[in-house]
Symmetry: D2
Subunit: 432 residues, 4 copies
């Protein structure tokens, strides 16, 4: 039960400059927030002389490390789109500019490519006038890209550009790169802070309760599923199948199922299911159709990959190409029911990128604003090698090293999945 160690946040040095942020209340570095809220566990832990895991609380510090007038910041967005990217960019810029009086902010174009000279992407100078309304748009004004780039070249580039704080907005792969950049910076003895803002529409980042964009994605996914429900009820033995995002985790599928309440089968990567056999999906689907004459199936893109012999390692940062489980299900259902002379009409909807390319909803607008403000507070205070996390209704500093250790996944015995089972009424879909 010695778990407290990893939660220490690295800093570039002692913060000595008096912050001019006009706040009544500053957060002290020793203010910490418990990771687990289980009272018995926490009590036991303490009574046994251990410290329960806790995180540094995010927020403005009285003393800051960087002198605003001499500070240069960079913002980069990496990986796939997620609703709210522009909100985060905007809020970082406004917070730096108006609250900390840092006027020198560059946007790195097209993800990590923007650091590599051979791509030839110019930087974008960021200031209030060119970020004012961007939160009303989907996507990212900085552009993004996937794929690895040389860590050395990135740090060379940071040095060349005299960047003091680097804000990296990205998912698992990006945060892994962020960690390596942070290590390279340390090795070189540079005073460059690396602050991550976790971005994953799948909401599967370890030690983060909710990532930005997730709420919006669920909203849209639910609307699409509603359409699939209309299609299903509109046909005799009508089946609507919707594939949603979720490579290793089924959070979008599960939440959309709970939102819409018209889903009969929710298939996620974490929960294995069989197709054939007495207790397989096809048998359960047939029973459902026989009783109600329509059915809606929501499937996360990473579900059922065993049918394609694709192995997903949730804790790897590789992205193997997935089999198209939605199309597969459609074909198998049609094939099998045809054999059984059981007429069925299947409509398959794959909204794909539509779900992630829209502007943030109100809840995500707010979340993004906070994350960005907290990131700026942390960066200005000289913190580094960390991400801002929203956990237990609080904003926290979590070492990057910890969040990239593994993916958050749906717990097959947890509240969320229990609620899904209650909502869908689906059986275990597993033969012995």
């Amino acid at each position: 039960m010695k778990e407290q160690i990893f939660t220490e946040i690295d800093t570039l040095g002692k913060a000595k400059i008096e912050s001019k942020v006009k706040f009544k209340v500053f957060v002290e570095d020793d203010e910490r927030v418990l990771y687990r809220v289980d009272a018995n566990y926490v009590e036991k832990c303490i009574k046994e002389g251990n410290k329960p895991i806790s995180f540094e609380k995010a927020g403005p510090r009285k003393k800051i490390f960087f002198d605003p007038s001499k500070t240069r910041c960079a913002v980069v967005t990496c990986g796939g789109l997620s609703p709210g990217l522009n909100d985060v960019i905007r809020a970082i810029v406004l917070e730096l500019y108006y609250i900390y009086n840092v006027k020198n902010i560059v946007g790195i174009k097209f993800g990590l490519q923007g650091f590599i000279p051979e791509y030839g992407h110019d930087v974008l100078y960021l200031e209030p006038s060119n970020v004012r309304d961007i939160h009303q748009k989907g996507g990212t004004i900085l552009g993004t890209s996937r794929g690895k780039q040389s860590i050395e070249e990135i740090v060379d580039s940071l040095e060349r550009m005299n960047i003091n704080i680097l804000f990296m907005i990205g998912g698992d792969g990006t945060l892994t790169a962020a960690y390596k950049i942070y290590e390279e910076i340390s090795k070189r003895g540079l005073k460059i802070s690396v602050i991550g803002i976790p971005k994953t529409i799948d909401n599967d980042i370890h030690m983060v309760d909710k990532t930005f964009g997730f709420d919006t994605a669920v909203d849209i996914a639910a609307r699409v599923i509603l359409g699939a429900h209309s299609e299903a009820t509109g046909a005799y033995n009508g089946v609507g199948i919707v594939k949603v995002m979720g490579r290793v985790s089924g959070f979008i599928a599960a939440a959309a199922t709970l939102s819409l309440k018209d889903v009969n089968f929710c298939l996620v990567p974490e929960i294995d299911f069989d197709l054939y056999g007495e207790h397989g999906l096809l048998a359960a689907l047939k029973e459902r159709l026989t009783q109600r004459r329509h059915a809606v199936i929501v499937v996360a893109e990473g579900a059922g990959q065993k049918f394609f012999n694709v192995k997903i390692n949730p804790n790897s940062h590789e992205n193997p190409k997935l089999g198209d489980i939605g199309k597969f299900l459609k074909e198998k259902i049609e094939e099998e029911f045809k054999k059984e002379n059981f007429p069925v009409t299947i409509k398959y909807i794959d909204p794909s990128y539509y779900i992630r390319s829209i502007p943030a909803n109100s809840s995500d607008h707010i979340l993004c604003g906070y994350l960005a403000q907290m990131a700026v507070h942390a960066g200005m205070a000289g913190k580094t090698g960390m991400v801002v996390s929203y956990l237990n209704n609080q904003f926290l500093h979590v070492p990057i090293k910890e969040v990239i250790k593994k993916r958050k996944m749906l717990d097959s015995e947890g509240e969320l999945w229990m609620a899904v089972l209650q909502s869908t009424g689906q059986p275990p879909l597993k033969n012995k």
Copy 2:
């Protein structure tokens, strides 16, 4: 210039019963509306002693044919979903029930299948209590199906069920069936009125300016395209491709292009285009990317079918299986640009059924209400073999025979396509 003949509407006999509809104003049978509003043409026509094409005006008649207390009506919805189907069902029921006092209304389940005993679908008794709120839902509460059924069996079924008025809501294929049913009814000398309400999300029905559901579909298509635009701008040489409905006509693609204004290439079935060569799409796309680094392509599902050797006969009622032009474009662009070492990031979105399965927007709510009311007025007056059409901002009676003669298509020299070209700035995309 003798065009007036085909516009006469057939009736089951002389309408003799005094209507109890409490309207200040009734429409007379000889009130007619001009088809073409070109003043010069009309004047020339009349001066030469011909009658310009005109249609019977829709609306309540002073004398009706069917005795409300003894009338039994049937409603059937056929073919693919379109926003507003439930609005039409609802408004037919409420108009019959409250305005004409006809209480005996049956809903035929799952399209024409519902008439064929072997399918075993029960009818659904329709009354205000079970249609009250259905307009707020997508789909059709009656269900639908595709495919032909025996005309004789359908008419047998109408006889057996003692139906007096049959309201058929469907597209080209359904209206063709409606016409045959009408003919069979005539042959048997039955007093059954057949009233069609044209339904096509593609808005490609001849002699109809706007079909219900189209406006809603364009609304959603535009939102999806906005997402594709975010994806395109979010990548270096980003290309967003969206496939929208439109088998033989590009009205949704064109209207969504005009709505969103961020589309760079709009590809429709009516306008041929080349892929390769100096003036082909790929060259034009490359130029666009070189200048602006992102591009949005909207493609109707029926566009570019020559690449698959699929022949589409716009005036046939067959639906040949289309090649997936969206996927094809994605692959060809990737392939070609890879050869040329021109990096490109393509995101392909196929919203498919999502576009047609949502509830109607306000404008379609209103249109559906009118179409249904006019259909009921026509049916009660003993009209038959006709559809209700919205044309020149008026509601009209058009013989089914005429509307199924050919499809409405986008005029390559018309205002709509000119506006699309202005909005996209796209070149002709054709080599010599």
Copy 3:
């Protein structure tokens, strides 16, 4: 039956310059569109040797009047907001810039005030880069104002700024000003074209079927009414009252009623109603509540002004201050039912400016684009003293003089009001 005279469009002189607009098809000046589509009327008219009213068809002309490289245009938006104002500004600029190659475009700030030096408003130079995305926003980037300004000073200003074409986007009052500006220009013998684009969220402009923004407004109004319906059904004898725009005409109220279908009483300026007495609103409301225990009332702001002794002259361009009919109804219903010991819970919603300040929906995006393009075609061709009208599904040139003659109003015997009565089931609400 001599009605053709007023439809001639004035021009600044003979259009002599070859247009470089790359259109396959141009519109000829003698192409005309019939105003009335009643076949019998038109035939009678022609047979009697008269010409039925018709309008010049809008569209690009082969010959234009202004030399693009030397042309300077001004755009001004006046009066209240309407969804789509920014769409119109944007499309005028893009059409001038890209299609006609006119690069010199100024936006006049804050309506007609922008012409008057003493207000000191600068002009805004308009070009593609600053209008690109404005259609996604409500309001007008130019700002607007109400109230009259000196016609002489406006024309002085046009002269001083060397404006060749003035695009005026505004309602009844603005068009009246436009007409006077046009007259003053003629008097001074200047070559300045004045082109109006009718703007009224109320959709009450004579000789125009649909003004931009109306469709969007109805959409939002319907959503608000849906809220009122929830409030009404949520209480015992619950009454939801929603006041919508419509000073002299009830088009928004009527259309929203038809869209939502849950309205029980629709009150409009054109149809007088009594409050008290056997057949008055209160009696009818009480009956409705007794039967169904809830009711929804939609009232146009200009309805029932007799209760405030406000006289509205629909053909005047004055805007007398209206009594708050929504609040009045709420108070009178509460007062009367209290007397009668009939418990009632009233929720009054006045969405006011919310309805007009949102961005256009797809349908309005498209309409605005067309109107602007047609306005530019007309202006470049040297037309003047006219507005672009959407009528009979066509775009037309209509002399300003004609459209300001009177307001379009809801016909108490027309299809729209009949449909409203069918939908609401409301009685005449008039004592003898």
Copy 4:
């Protein structure tokens, strides 16, 4: 630091029946969740031998108190509407019916009135078929009412109807009534469980992080404010004022401000402000207008009540009639600026009931589902005198007695208000 006492949940007796709920995991009664997540506080507390406040974890229990086949439940909704009421009703019914096999569920009509015979409201029998789609509608199918009713008569009624579990969905006043009902039941020695589900669109319930409906309300409020922003920017010195809900707390105002990011002044009940004087709102507004020529003010309905001499006691359950602060501000600004000859155009929008009468968004759909399920688990387990609370991302049991002790209010030194100040840039608005 002895705080643990009040968190014990009362029960009707020992739960002895084996639950048939098919869950892998049940929650034990001694599982508890910490109220405060401040690690230092918790550690100190424990080390000093005290227990930090914690709550019983919600969830299904292995043993239940009521025998499903003999259990009769009642659901009642009280007070103002909030998005999600129908979701909660629906989920209670489905959970009881399908998960616990309780088929006997009655809906009490029109709030507490429904218990009082003299009102004569019938109950509504609730079953899956009549709640299936109600979550897609705003309002409450049970109706609601305000005002107190006799506790004795309510309990008489519960006895007469043989109710075993009463689910009460309502705000502060309702929960106070729930507590008294619970006390009366105890006094009479009845075995009736009283379970509350806190409902307040204002999100101001003590010991609850987020109440259902709040997220949806913020979404809509933000859209209305966006409209006000369009109005403000559309006029010279344009001021948009929006009044939102929030009698004693400014959570909606604050969250909508953070969501939209275009608000310049956010006025809430918790933070006093001056109107006149060097540092008052009028001076600050004038300065803002002078700099930017437009401003948006969001004001919670309970803000600035000192101007009306209305005293709000946040811990009282009385609802004094509030002065209309929105209208007041409009008038005072107009009056003052007129005096100063500073032209200004003010648009005041009061969306009022519109904000609370719409259907829940996805996030609220999900929250409501959980709350209802947890309430059913609690009720079936024989818990009583408690509410289900969502706190620290967990669902908990909190004694009603505790939640009604005081209102949750915006902390003037907390993160939320700091974020508001950063977003608006507003000064303290207080003279010395």
